[in-house]
């Protein structure tokens, strides 16, 4: 057990909770989310309940905090324990909600996170019709990074029937979730 690392992460979590400055909050959350990229930190992050911290931050009004929180989830959600935890905590819905963010990075992290969270159990929720519809529109985005992710989602995680259903539905509804701004 690397106590130095645990202590450092603990200090970050505490600072996130006590600080009043949104700038400091953003910086600390970015730190934690970057730590979540490295599997060596997963054990510590779970111990400090950083997964809950990320999930809670998804509902913040501050777009930047949401961006960093979903980035953190995207980074750690492939680990089986973390994946189970997020699914248990009903994390899929708030992540789906991120798809309607105007922040492009938030949307892309959310798409990747949803793919990584797909299990036989979570699949029905993750490939629900509105989500597939959303991906269809993203697949037409001029942002190649976003359209690539959406195409992978449609091709690898949805059935052709699901895609067809979404396609025919979106023909009738002109308005949907708007594309991210930048």
């Amino acid at each position: 057990m690397d106590l130095g690392r645990l202590e450092y992460l603990q200090a970050l979590v505490t600072e996130f909770q006590v600080t009043e400055s949104s700038e400091a909050k953003e910086q600390v959350l970015a730190n934690l989310a970057n730590f979540a990229y490295d599997p060596k930190n997963y054990e510590y992050l779970r111990q400090l309940q950083v997964l809950d911290l990320f999930l809670d931050a998804l509902t913040e009004d501050n777009e930047t905090l949401v961006e960093f929180a979903i980035g953190g989830l995207c980074n750690l959600c492939l680990d089986k324990t973390n994946k189970d935890y997020i699914l248990e905590a009903n994390g899929v819905q708030p992540i789906i909600n991120c798809l309607s963010s105007s922040n492009e990075e938030t949307v892309m992290s959310a798409v990747t996170t949803l793919m990584y969270l797909t299990t036989p159990q979570s699949r029905p929720q993750i490939t629900a019709l509105p989500v597939v519809e959303c991906m269809l529109r993203f697949s037409l985005s001029t942002n190649r990074r976003l359209s690539n992710l959406a195409v992978v989602f449609l091709e690898d995680y949805c059935t052709p029937v699901q895609v067809e259903e979404a396609r025919s539905l979106s023909k009738h509804t002109a308005v949907g979730i708007p594309l991210p701004k930048d």
Binding site: A30, G71, Y116, T142, V151, V152
Partner: protein, 359 residues
Amino acid sequence: MAAATGAEVGGACGHHAQRDVCASRANQHHQVYTVNLESRYLLIQGVPALGVMKELVEQFALYGAIEEYNALDEYPAEQFTEVYLIKFQKLQNARAAKKKMDERNFFGSLLHVCYAPEFETVQETREKLQDRRKYIAKATSSKDHFSKMPQEPKRTVSNNSEYDFQSPTSGFRAADRTVGNWDPSACFPDFYKTLHCDVSAGNIAHPSGYHSQSHLASPQCVHYSTKAYECFSYNPSLKPAVQQGGHKHVSASPALQRTFDNGIDRFMPRATQLEERKRKRDEGNKLGIIGTNSDINEVVIGPQLPEMPKVDMEDDSLNTSASLIRNKLQEVAASVPETLKENRQDIQAKPLVKQRRRI
């Protein structure tokens, strides 16, 4: 008329985009690094327009096999600089190259190296996501191994470096310094943000035609074509026939004749360079049509650095010494290929530098 307007508007856009990059670099202090931001594609900005592509590619090839490379002639660039796109075979090589080469002085100019996932095809994005999946599966299945590992050595990390998560000695100590100040511009070409806005806003008249083109291209095919922008390949170990079209597979086949291109070794005005590139491409295309290029299916194992030139020292004794040294180096090379690369590089560099003095 329409074209002229387009160029005007586009020109302004390009300039604007450049300013935006700087602005957002200053504002955006924090960025979260995810799999979506990394890529085997590296965008290299700030390369002095001195015809030094060969040197650039050689420098980057030190970090791993390069699959493709291009000059992005239409990409907005500072005056007298060029932008290049280099695609590595492996992500970790791109990561290492980016880390070492970003902010590096190259022929008197600071390089800016960033990941360019916007150049990925759907398939490449898919593979990238799968690789991350495999990596995490492997890393987390050997948890016990990780916890038993001895204390990691402390590491200092330079200002602009990113996490080297792949390495077992991940820079935790340096993290407090690095993570917060992680340079967003290093990994996220903000320029593209602007660009995409422009395009989606209906401003199709961007001069960098290849951008719009690349958006329109089918995701399954490689999205940059010769039509779209200039590309040019240099590889000393390639048949001229390979120097064709938008794709260069840098292959190392000792049997292939070395074709040295002096054209890019010496300084040329940019206009001449572009003409030269076009000429080369056309030449290559011709060969391609004849069919000499059709049977290139050797395994791509990366670029081979140029063979040592057999210089005539104009003296028998000197020539003997030279050939002795050459042979010795080749012997050493057989056992330590890594060192050889560098040796060759050094030896190669000298006559080139000399040549450039001809201006």
